[in-house]
Each structure stands twice: as structure tokens, then as C-alpha cells.
């Protein structure tokens, strides 16, 4: 430490150190001279001998300065000054180089940082890769949840599992302080779920094994969001009761911010205390387990058949066709398209970075070649290759530092909005925040990248000049420039073509007719708590009252209820059979729904035959149904009105004893997954004949005042009964928009990547050509002096990039076409349009031409005399 302090002090007081050293040596020489004089030598001879005995004074001074670390610092200061003088002396080239470096690497880093949370599968729990989902599979390959006793068997039988937990996601109704009931996402969980996921509460405690015993006290853990927004972050509420599902629960803990698992959950209650979960055939829980340190996913899969055998032995009533099916937990909780999006993003960012670095490298090569005469002269004048290398590396270091000042604002300007966009489109990322830490970590990395790129040509030269490695003779700029332009154009065309394709797929999706009209439609979810609305008549009555009140609202044209809207993302599917098809082994599967009479008018679904439901279709009336055109065609082909159909209890079969439903109407086909779905067979029964504990209100506003209707709706609904839980009052247009959130996010990010790639290519082409042209001023001056016209000069410059641009562009278009096909198949299953690679090719070629035109025009504007004087 002391040594470093001394060295630092010496460095700061360099001139004083030099003076001290001079004085010290002078004193020594004077003493030696006096000693010699005392022996009779004359003064001049004594001085000469004293210096002779001492040796080379300057060499030893230099040696001392080397020991004290002064020489290196002074050399560095000199090199930095020299580098700055050179950079300032060539403002055009400096601006070109620093601008290109900063912009290209900055955009890559900005976009790359924003994609990190997406590609790193940033789930809000510890080591997601160490978790396995435990479910069971039916013979037809569908996955089902498991029962709580199933999970106990897993935990007891498989030594490869360190902990086995389960959760049952559900919407739960909560009563706030004003007495209003509202619905939030929640889950009934086993007491050890948080332990298995590796998360802990911020306040209070998680569940304990005692909380999981049947009949235990009702308790709840709440999310940080719920704690802040609903309980006012009031510490005194910890331990107090809130009403959940009509039952008071003591709030025992608050989770950390960002933990809302399963997706959107705000409340967790213990599942084990409820009797219903003790039933071995009640398959409601999704199992999640953590591998033991010595185990692996493959070992868990290998143990599954034995677990199945134990389950069948322990619970004889079980369907023998069900088999335990462990899967990686990450696959379960992240949507399937996420991996594809991740790969696309990683690929895009890497390509961007390569474009940026290739521009920088090319500029560095050009700069180095422009100095080859200077370097050769310096070597001939006695400079060592090492000394020249040090100077050039210092120059690269200064240039890279200047580029950083541009790079970081650009990176930040892209990073923050892109991350915000990703967060708004992907609920899994709501806890991701702009990480200044990550941003700072990128500083040395990006600096090293810039420095390495800038100094690569210098190091190659040094290796040749020092005889460490034979370096080929300098080639002309032509092949390098062609390779550069060709590869950049290829990449830009490929990316732009993919982005245009992705955008067109997205636009086509949103232009698809879903079979219903969404403009002016408002929806709201209703729940009828079982403690108040246990009777079917009570639910019929409250729905009737709800409809009357909504109809009475100003500007409401039609009002109806249904179980789920076509864009809710969840649907019930039942096997359906016509009266003559009960023996069909593979029944038709249709989306099942219940509706009140005006649903079709409210949603603009055309009535093709028969009638809609009416007042006679109540609980005591004949069971009736309305079918979609597709279902009618598949069941009977023609004349469906008056025919009867039967509904199964699941997708697999229809029991012979199921009641007949007489078909009273046929309506147009609709999709059931927003824009992403295909029209599917559908059947509706009257809500009055299927009064569930929940419903979705659907109303069409007669005016454009949808916000006004949204504002008035909750009070009108609660006016029917204060016990109704009202949730998600939303325009249908917003729900439809959400249904294409992922393709939209992909199109936007791909668009950003492609646009940045295009800009970088144009900038790189411009920079490289501008540099190249500036070194050719003299040659062009001679050509022009010999009679070459301005037009031929421009054509010469443009011609230098035309061929590689065309070849690279064609290659890029082919790659873009392939990528577009893959993208369409993977994300949406939609078709592709061959026009986009061609459009992308034309756009990039025009842009490259325009970028090359600038330097060409600059060249011909230069007076011939001045051009002839340029080196």
C-alpha cells in the first residue's frame, strides 16, 4: 500500500522527481570529481573521469525513472496527446469512426440488454431449471392435474425429489373494507410450495405444515402488489382477517415484489386444510418438485412408471389409463412461443453486433492501411515495432473511449423503451426493471470489444513487423470492401424481410374476421359466491336483474350474458353427438357455452336459421341449443333445426343417458382464441338452463361513449346484488388486442432489429465508402483532369458497391424467405407472402445506393486542383 502511495505521489510530482534525480546524480558526480581533484587531477579531467566512472548518466536516469514508473506514464501521456492530435487533425474521419462505432455497438448493446430478461427465462423463483412439473397424461396425450394424495405418493416414493408441492390456480373473490367484493388471481397451494420454489416472504411468514392439516385455521399469504394496493401497506393488517371466498382468512405473510406466481396471483391460501383436496380422485393440483442434488430430470421420468403402479394400487378407483407425466417446469409456466422468440432475439442481436463490428473492423483496416507509409517511415527511422504498437493501441484506446460517450446514450435510449414494451406484452416480465447494474457491467465489456476491433489491424501489422508471424502483403481495398458491403446488405435484407414478414403476419391476423364484431362491445366478469347464490333460481334471478339494469343504462343497445367470451383464452369443450350418432366412437368435439337471448346481437354473430333463445327457454322448459354452422354441418349436413343433440361430460364420449337438446337456431362460425384461433364447432345452451356460478356480461353500446358505459357498468351490476363480484370491465377490442400480444411483440422487436440493422448497414456503407473515396481524391482528380465526366465518376463509385450489394442482397432475400416461413409456421401457423423478401431487397439496395451517392457527390464537388493536391 505504502509502495503504491509513494508511486502515486511520484507520478503526480513528475517534474519535481526529475529535478530531484538530476540533483542526486549531480551531487554524486561533484563528490567524485572533488575526490579526483584531491588526488591531483585537474578539474576538467576530474569531471571527465567522474562521468566515465559513473557510466551513461542518461541511461541510468532513464533506468531509475523506469523503476519509479515515471517513464511509462510519460510515454502514455505523450501517446495520448499524439492520439488526440491525430484525431483532432482529421475531424471528418474521426467523426465517421467514432459515430459508426458508438451507434453500431450502442444499438446492439441496447437491444441486447432489453432482450436479456426474455431470453434468460427470468422466472421469479430460485433455479427454475431445477424444478419439475408433476402431472398425469391421458391415453390421448392430454395432461391433467393430479390430486393431493398423488403428490404425497410422489414425495414418499421418489428419492430423486427434494420437495413436492402443488398449486391450483383460481380466481378468488375478496371483500374490501367498503364491503364490495372483487376478484383477484390466486391459488390454493400446499404449505411447502414457497419452499420448493425457493422464495420467501418479505413480511410475516409462509405456510407451515400445521396449516396444511384438514380443518386448520384459514390463513392467506398476499402479494406485495395486493399488500400495497388493497391493504395500504399497513403493517397492522398483518395477522388481521380479510374475507376470501366468503370466509375470513388471517393474513400471515406478504411476498416480495414481483412474485405473482401462478401468473397474476395475488393471494395464496392453504389447499391441504380443505376436505375436497383429500380426495385421491380430485385432480385439481399441478405438482411441482425440486430435484434432489444427485438426481436429474431423466431419473424422475424413469421412476414415473413405478409411481403410476403405486398410485393404481393405493387408489383402485383411479382410471388405469392415467399415467404420471413429469415435464420440465419451465416448459409448463412459459408459453411455448417464448423459446422461439428468445432464439429469434438472440440471433437478431448477434447479427446486429456482427454488422456493427464488421463496420468498425473495416474502418479500422482502412485507417491502418492509410497509415502504412507513415508506419514504414517510422520503422526505418529507428522506432521499434513495440513502441509503434504501444502508440497505436493508445490511439485505439482513446478512440474507443470517445465512442463510449456516444454508445451509452444510444444503448440506454433503446434499452429502456424496449424493456418497457416487453414488460407490457409479457406478464412474466412484469418484475423486470431497467438494471443500471447490468448496464454498468456492460461498460468494460463493450469497451474491450471496441478496443479489440480497433486494434486488430494494428496487432496484425505488429506481428508482421516484429517477425513474429508472416503477414501477407497488403492487398487492395477492393475485395475487403466487396465482402463488407455484400455481407452487410445480405444481413440487412434477411432481417428486414423477416421483420416485414412478421409484421404482415400480424396485420393479417388482426384483419382476420373472427366471426363477431368487437367495436363498441364491453364485457365484465361476474362471480356469484356460493355462500349467497347456492340455488340455481337465485343465480337465474340475479342474472335477470343484471340484464334489466344494464339494458336500462343509457346508450346500451343490447345486453347479454354468456359463460366466456370468444377471446377469454379459456374454453370448455364437450363431445357432442346427434341423435343418430350415439354409437360413434370418435365424437365431434365442440366449444360449449351458455348464453342469454341477445348474445348474438350484442356480438354481431349472424343468425343463419331458426331463432335465438327466448323467455320460454328457462329452467323448466325443454332443453334447447343453438349450434354454429360448422357443428350443424358436421352433425347433420342439412336441416338442423328441430334435430336433437346430446352433450358429453368431457371431450371423450357422450353417455347414452344424457338429455336431448333440441336445436332451435344456427349461427355463424366464430373463433374462440381471438385472432389466433380458427373457427371451431360451437354449441350454446340457454343460460337459464345452465346457471353457473359465474358469467360474462356482454353489451353493445349504441354510441361511441364506451368509456362512459365502462364507468357506469360496475354500479349497475352491483345494484342487482351487492354480493356479486365484478371484475375486468373491459372493451372487447382490448381483449382482442391482448390475444395477439405475442405476435405483436415479436413483430415490433423484429421491426426494431431490422430497422436498426438497416440503419447500421447504410451507415456502415456510407462510412466505408466515404473513407475510401476520401483516400481516392487524388486518383479521381487525375481522372477528371484527363476528361472523365462527373457522371462517370459517380457511376464508378456506385459501381464499386453494386455487384457485392446485389449478390449479398439476393442471398439475404433467400435467407429472409426461409426465416419468414419458419416464423409463420412456428408462431401462428399462418401462410407467408413472397413479396416481402423482394420489397426488403429493393429497400436495402435503394438505401445502399443512396448511402454510396453521398461520398460520390462529395468527390465530384471537390475542385480538381484541390483533389490533385490530396494524398
Amino acid at each position: 500500500m505504502r509502495r503504491w502511495l509513494t508511486r502515486c505521489r511520484t507520478l503526480i510530482q513528475r517534474s519535481r522527481h526529475r529535478e530531484d534525480l538530476d540533483n542526486e546524480i549531480r551531487f554524486h558526480l561533484e563528490m567524485e570529481t572533488e575526490k579526483l581533484i584531491r588526488t591531483g587531477v585537474d578539474v576538467a579531467e576530474a569531471k571527465r573521469r567522474a562521468r566515465l566512472v559513473f557510466g551513461g548518466v542518461d541511461r541510468f536516469k532513464e533506468e531509475v525513472r523506469e523503476v519509479d514508473g515515471i517513464s511509462r506514464v510519460e510515454a502514455l501521456v505523450t501517446d495520448v496527446r499524439y492520439a488526440l492530435r491525430r484525431l483532432v487533425g482529421q475531424p471528418f474521419h474521426t467523426a465517421l469512426l467514432i459515430g459508426a462505432l458508438g451507434a453500431t455497438v450502442g444499438s446492439s448493446i441496447g437491444i441486447g440488454l432489453a432482450t436479456l430478461p426474455i431470453v434468460s427465462l427470468d422466472l421469479p423463483f430460485h433455479d427454475p431449471a431445477g424444478l419439475v412439473a408433476l402431472r398425469q397424461r391421458t391415453p390421448d396425450g392430454r395432461y391433467l392435474p393430479v390430486s393431493l394424495p398423488d403428490l404425497h405418493v410422489w414425495g414418499e416414493s421418489d428419492p430423486g425429489l427434494a420437495g413436492v408441492a402443488g398449486y391450483d390456480p383460481a380466481l378468488v373473490s375478496v371483500r374490501d373494507d367498503s364491503g364490495t367484493r372483487f376478484r383477484v388471481g390466486g391459488a390454493e397451494v400446499t404449505a411447502n410450495l414457497f419452499d420448493v420454489l425457493g422464495v420467501s416472504p418479505l413480511l410475516g411468514r409462509a405456510f407451515t405444515p400445521e396449516d396444511d392439516i384438514p380443518g386448520a385455521i384459514a390463513q392467506a399469504v398476499v402479494s406485495n402488489r395486493f399488500w400495497v394496493e388493497r391493504l395500504g401497506a399497513d403493517a397492522s393488517r398483518l395477522g388481521q382477517d380479510i374475507e376470501i371466498g366468503g370466509e375470513p382468512h388471517a393474513v400471515i405473510g406478504v411476498m416480495k415484489p414481483g412474485f405473482n406466481f401462478p401468473s397474476g396471483a395475488d393471494i395464496w391460501v392453504s389447499a391441504g386444510r380443505l376436505e375436497s383436496y383429500q380426495d385421491p380422485l380430485n385432480f385439481d393440483l399441478i405438482g411441482v418438485a425440486r430435484y434432489a442434488p444427485q438426481s436429474s430430470f431423466e431419473a424422475i421420468v424413469a421412476a414415473a412408471p413405478a409411481i403410476g403402479e403405486r398410485l393404481r394400487t393405493a387408489y383402485p378407483g383411479r382410471d388405469p389409463g392415467l399415467s404420471p407425466a413429469p415435464t420440465p417446469f419451465v416448459q409448463l409456466v412459459l408459453p411455448p412461443a417464448t423459446a422461439t422468440v428468445s432464439w429469434l432475439l438472440v440471433g437478431g442481436v448477434v447479427i446486429l453486433l456482427l454488422i456493427g463490428l464488421s463496420t468498425c473492423l473495416h474502418l479500422a483496416v482502412l485507417r491502418h492501411r492509410a497509415r502504412s507509409y507513415e508506419l514504414a517511415t517510422r520503422l526505418r527511422l529507428g522506432a521499434t515495432p513495440d513502441r509503434v504498437l504501444r502508440q497505436l493501441v493508445t490511439e485505439g484506446t482513446v478512440t474507443a473511449a470517445l465512442a463510449l460517450t456516444i454508445m451509452f446514450p444510444i444503448a440506454w435510449a433503446l434499452y429502456v423503451p424496449l424493456l418497457e414494451l416487453a414488460r407490457s406484452e409479457m406478464p412474466e416480465l412484469t418484475h423486470a426493471a431497467p438494471g443500471i447494474g447490468m448496464y454498468v457491467i456492460m461498460l468494460p465489456l463493450s469497451y474491450a470489444l471496441l478496443l479489440a476491433t480497433l486494434t486488430t489491424p494494428t496487432v496484425m501489422w505488429w506481428m508482421g513487423a516484429s517477425g513474429r508471424r508472416a503477414v501477407g502483403t497488403a492487398r487492395g481495398d477492393g475485395p475487403t470492401r466487396s465482402l463488407f458491403v455484400g455481407s452487410q446488405v445480405a444481413v440487412a435484407v434477411a432481417l428486414l424481410s423477416t421483420a416485414l414478414g412478421a409484421t404482415s403476419i400480424f396485420l393479417r391476423l388482426t384483419a382476420t374476421d373472427p366471426g363477431f364484431r368487437n367495436e363498441g362491445v364491453v364485457t365484465a366478469l361476474l362471480s356469484f359466491p356460493s355462500d349467497v347464490f347456492s340455488e340455481r333460481d337465485a343465480r337465474r334471478a340475479v342474472v335477470s336483474s343484471v340484464l334489466e339494469r344494464i339494458q336500462a343504462l343509457p346508450n346500451v343497445e343490447y345486453a347479454a350474458v354468456t359463460l366466456r367470451t370468444p377471446v377469454s383464452g379459456a374454453r370448455i369443450e364437450y363431445a357432442v353427438a346427434g341423435e343418430s350418432q350415439l354409437d360413434v366412437s370418435a365424437p365431434i368435439v365442440a366449444v360449449f357455452n351458455a348464453a342469454s337471448s341477445d348474445l348474438y346481437k350484442a356480438l354481431g354473430i349472424p343468425l343463419l336459421a331458426g331463432r335465438t333463445f327466448n323467455g320460454a327457454d328457462d329452467g323448466s322448459g325443454e332443453p334447447v341449443a343453438i349450434v354454429s354452422q360448422r357443428l350443424a354441418d358436421e352433425l347433420w349436413g342439412s336441416d338442423p333445426i328441430g334435430r336433437t343433440l346430446r352433450l358429453g361430460n368431457d371431450r371423450n364420449s357422450v353417455e347414452p343417458g344424457a338429455p336431448d337438446h333440441r336445436v332451435v337456431g344456427v349461427v355463424g362460425d366464430i373463433t374462440h382464441e381471438g385472432y389466433l384461433g380458427r373457427p371451431t364447432p360451437a354449441v350454446w345452451v340457454p343460460y337459464a338452463q345452465f346457471p353457473a356460478y359465474y358469467a360474462t356480461v356482454v353489451l353493445r353500446s349504441a354510441s361511441a361513449d364506451v368509456p362512459g358505459v365502462i364507468q357506469a357498468l360496475p354500479d349497475a351490476l352491483r345494484g342487482a346484488s351487492p354480493e356479486i363480484v365484478v371484475d375486468r370491465v373491459t372493451p372487447l377490442t382490448a381483449l382482442l388486442r391482448d390475444s395477439v400480444a405475442r405476435p405483436r411483440l415479436l413483430a415490433r422487436i423484429m421491426g426494431t432489429l431490422a430497422f436498426t440493422a438497416l440503419l447500421m448497414t447504410l451507415m456502415g456503407t456510407y462510412a466505408v465508402l466515404a473513407w475510401w473515396v476520401s483516400r481516392r481524391q487524388r486518383e479521381v482528380g487525375i481522372r477528371r483532369a484527363l476528361g472523365s465526366t462527373a457522371g462517370r465518376t459517380v457511376a464508378w463509385v456506385l459501381g464499386s458497391v453494386a455487384r457485392p450489394a446485389l449478390l449479398g442482397g439476393a442471398f439475404g432475400a433467400a435467407v429472409g424467405w426461409g426465416a419468414q416461413r419458419w416464423l409463420a409456421g412456428t408462431i401462428t401457423g399462418a401462410g407467408v407472402d413472397p413479396v416481402w423478401p423482394v420489397v426488403a431487397l429493393l429497400l436495402v439496395l435503394c438505401g445502399t445506393g443512396a448511402a454510396a451517392l453521398g461520398p460520390a457527390l462529395r468527390l465530384i464537388r471537390e475542385p480538381i486542383r484541390r483533389a490533385l493536391g490530396a494524398g
Binding site: F27, F60, V64, E66, V67, D68
Partner: protein, 109 residues
């Protein structure tokens, strides 16, 4: 009298430390003292002396300060630090072992 010999490579630090054990001294004084004590047998290469002194100062073995020499001139004086004293003890032991080993080889080799 024979001409003094250059200090054996690697022993300059030991000689400087040992010389400074007598008290603070300037560079020329150290050089003269080594030559005198060795009865004109050892001669310090004067040009190597100063890099060695600065290196030892950087290593914390010596401290330096400016003062007046016997003839009233301004000179830079060096003195041992505690670390320097410890280092001297180690260097002396190493040297004695080396010297004994060389003696053994000369006597029996």
C-alpha cells in the same frame, strides 16, 4: 594492491542494506563506504547504485530524505526502514548459507 572488483551480481542489495545499518547515508557515501570497508576489494558500479536504491525505496526497504552533506551540499540521504532491517537479517542468513556452501565445494570438491 589489485584493482577493485565489481560487486558480485545479486549482492548489491545486501551490501547497501548492511552499509545503511550504520545510519543514513547518501548514494556516493554508500559507494565509498563499501569500497573502503572491503579494503578497496569491491567497487560498486555507480550507475547501478541509483536504480537499486530507488527500487529498494519503492519496496519499502529504505526511506529517503533531502539533507546537507558534510561539505554543506544538498544531498539525498537514505536510511533503513523496519522492513529493511528485517530483510537484511534474511539476506545475511541466505548469504552465510551460500558462502558456507561455496566453501564446502572449494574445500571438498
Amino acid at each position: 594492491m589489485t584493482d577493485p572488483t565489481d560487486v558480485l551480481h545479486g549482492t548489491l542489495n545486501l551490501l547497501i542494506l548492511q552499509t545503511l545499518r550504520q545510519g543514513r547515508m547518501h548514494g556516493w557515501g554508500i559507494s565509498e563506504r563499501i569500497q573502503a570497508v572491503s579494503q578497496n576489494t569491491l567497487k560498486v558500479n555507480q550507475g547501478s547504485l541509483y536504480p537499486a536504491l530507488h527500487r529498494m525505496e519503492q519496496s519499502g526497504l529504505l526511506n529517503s530524505s533531502w539533507g546537507r552533506s558534510d561539505n554543506g551540499r544538498r544531498a539525498k540521504f537514505y536510511e533503513l526502514t523496519e522492513l529493511g532491517r528485517d530483510h537484511l537479517a534474511v539476506e545475511r542468513t541466505t548469504w552465510r548459507r551460500f558462502q558456507g556452501a561455496v566453501e564446502l565445494v572449494l574445500a571438498n570438491g
